[in-house]
Every structure is written in structure tokens, then in C-alpha cells.
């Protein structure tokens, strides 16, 4: 693995090939906000708040730092005027779905985001996929997944698996950046009202 040298916020940084900008930044103590990142999980790039500006040969572009691999001699800016402006909008968009999320409220304060800028569609889920990916990648039970797409996308438990596994686990609950209760609610719903085509859930 070859070593790669580049710059983050004016600081010379060394990283190994294949690392993401986010990892490299965290290694040297530079903070980049994240919502869908989790060190035990594969990079996902779902929430976009970790967006940074990257300058390559004089050209700048915006990239998502949790999935963008480091490159030789690039210049990364985690808080340029442009990054701040765009991150603010991303936070505002996410807040249309989860206005009460403590993590989003903190970010909103930091970036001056207005939680009421966009019309509310409080689904409480920002599709960060932490619960879904944690269940698949770490717990390996695949009890919860996404269904549908676009504005209708939501999390959904498989009642048969959830009835067996979730009560003793619930490890995904505290991961949720919007509210601890979101997954809990959907789980209860799945167990109490399983879809009609499924077999009755056995009592334990």
C-alpha cells in the first residue's frame, strides 16, 4: 500500500491508498460532520452532510468525503464558504423530514440552517440506512430493510425475523440520527400488524 500525501484545510496529511478523505481527516483530528457514517459499516454516502471541496490541478469540485478515496496532492477544504453554504442546504432538506433530530438541530445551529425553509414532510427517517446496514453487516440478521423508492422509501421489518431476533437485540435503535423511537415504532408496527399475506407470528 503506497502512502499518499495531500492537504486538508491547509494541513499536510499522509494517508494510505484506498482510505477515504473522511478517514484520513479523522486520523489527524480534523472534524467533518457525518450522519450516515459508522466505522463498523461499509461507506454508504447517503446523507451528504460530509460534503467537502476538493481541488485537483486547480479545478475544484464537491465530493462526499466518506466515500471519496484520497488522491496524491489534492487540496481538501472542509469548511470553505461554498461547502458551508451547501451543507446548510443539505441540513435544511434533511430537517424537512426530521425537524426534531438532536443531531440535525446541532448542525443547524453550527451552519445557521433554518429548519422551516422547506415544507415539512416529517417522515422522521432521513434514509441514512444505519439501522438497515447495521442489521445486515454487523448483526447479520437482515431483520430490517428499505422498501419502495424516492419519496415513498421507508424502513420496514420482516415480521417473522423481527419476532425472533429484535427483542433481544435492538442495537439499531440508538444508531438512528433522527430519533431513537423511529425504529422502535416501525418494529412495533411490524409485529402488531403484520401484512395480511404473512403467516401469523408465533408467540414466544
Amino acid at each position: 500500500m503506497s502512502e499518499i500525501q495531500f492537504e486538508i484545510d491547509g494541513k499536510e496529511v499522509k494517508a494510505t491508498e484506498g482510505m477515504t478523505i473522511l478517514e484520513a481527516a479523522q486520523n489527524v483530528g480534523i472534524f467533518i460532520p457525518t450522519l450516515c457514517h459508522h466505522e463498523k459499516l461499509e461507506p454508504f454516502g447517503g446523507c451528504r452532510v460530509c460534503i467537502v471541496e476538493v481541488e485537483v490541478n486547480g479545478w475544484t469540485k464537491l465530493v462526499v468525503s466518506c466515500v471519496y478515496p484520497v488522491e496524491e496532492n489534492i487540496i481538501v477544504r472542509t469548511r470553505s464558504e461554498k461547502v458551508d453554504r451547501i451543507r446548510k442546504t443539505i441540513i435544511e432538506l434533511l430537517m424537512a423530514h426530521a425537524p426534531d433530530s438532536p443531531q440535525l438541530q446541532d448542525l443547524a445551529q453550527e451552519y445557521g440552517a433554518d429548519k422551516d425553509r422547506f415544507e415539512k414532510d416529517a417522515s422522521f427517517c432521513i434514509h441514512c440506512g444505519l439501522c438497515v446496514r447495521y442489521c445486515a453487516e454487523v448483526v447479520k440478521k437482515n431483520a430490517i430493510g428499505f422498501v419502495d423508492r424516492g419519496i415513498n422509501k421507508e424502513i420496514s421489518f420482516i415480521p417473522e425475523i423481527a419476532a425472533k431476533e429484535c427483542n433481544d437485540c435492538k442495537e439499531c435503535f440508538p444508531l438512528c440520527p433522527t430519533s431513537y423511537l423511529q425504529a422502535a415504532f416501525v418494529l412495533t408496527e411490524a409485529l402488531a400488524f403484520p401484512p395480511p399475506s404473512s403467516e401469523p407470528v408465533s408467540e414466544e
Binding site: 442489521c135 445486515a136 437482515n142 430490517i144 430493510g145 423508492r149 420482516i158 425475523i161 401484512p195
Partner: protein
């Protein structure tokens, strides 16, 4: 659709997880919808979690998780067909079948769907039934065509 037939379809695709969408499409076209039991069977055979299969089956509009009729009617309500009277065609079909777009009748005879352009605007208004395109339709002709389906 019984398990043997599902297994046959899976075997046709060598039970490969990478052929998941093809397997689902085959079952969809033969059975007109994807019953939960079928999804579970596929999951076991190709070793893909049900959550993932559900995600795919709900992502693409080609799949249905609720029973569909034997004959699928797609009525184009795209701009070209709209100006040529697609609404009247739609009314005729709703009247004849008793169902609205997105619905299936109780005898599982017809399912009705609207689409936003079938790509043959010069033939508008267009009605597609079971993949067969009927162009330049009038309400009368549409009612006649529907009689051919049992």
C-alpha cells in the same frame, strides 16, 4: 404458482444471486405478481436476504406484490395521447372493467394502469394490453378490443 415451478425458474438461472432480478421478472410475467412465499423461496435458494429482495421488488414498477389480473391494460396518458383523447379511452376502460388505474378486478381478469408515454405518440391514443399495442383508439374500438379478453 407452486414451488417446483419456482425452483425450475431459479435453476434456469443457475441459482445465481446475480440473476435475482431476472428470476423475479420471470415469475412476475408467468404469475402476474410475486407472492411472499415465492420471495421467501427465492431468498433461500439464491442466498439473498428477504430484506434485499423486498427492496428490489418494491423498487421497480415492473413488479407487483399484490395479485394482478390475467390481462394487464396500460393506457397511455402522455401528452400526445392526452390531447388525442386518452381521457375518454380511460373512461371507457374504467366503465367496462369497473376498475380504476392501479386496481385489479375481483375475478383477476384485468389490471389497469396508466403510463406516461409508450414511445409511439404518432399512434395515439395508445392502449397496450398484455404487451400488444393498440393504436389510434376510439372509445368504441377500445370497448370492442376488451371483449376479446377472457
Amino acid at each position: 404458482m407452486d414451488n417446483d415451478r419456482i425452483d425450475q425458474i431459479i435453476d434456469k438461472h443457475q441459482g445465481e444471486a446475480s440473476s435475482l432480478i431476472q428470476i423475479l421478472l420471470d415469475i412476475q410475467s408467468e404469475n402476474h405478481w410475486l407472492p411472499k412465499e415465492a420471495l421467501e423461496r427465492i431468498g433461500e435458494k439464491v442466498q439473498v436476504p428477504l430484506t434485499r429482495i423486498q427492496h428490489i421488488a418494491t423498487f421497480y414498477k415492473a413488479f407487483s406484490l399484490v395479485p394482478k389480473g390475467r390481462h394487464e391494460i396500460h393506457i397511455c396518458v402522455g401528452t400526445a395521447c392526452h390531447v388525442r383523447g386518452a381521457t375518454r379511452i380511460l373512461d371507457t376502460v374504467e366503465e367496462a372493467t369497473g376498475i380504476n388505474p392501479g386496481e385489479t378486478d375481483l375475478d383477476l381478469k384485468f389490471s389497469l394502469e396508466t403510463v406516461n408515454c409508450l414511445g409511439c405518440c404518432a399512434l395515439g391514443p395508445v392502449v397496450e394490453i398484455n404487451g400488444k399495442v393498440h393504436g389510434k383508439m376510439s372509445p368504441g374500438a377500445t370497448a370492442e378490443v376488451l371483449k376479446n379478453y377472457e
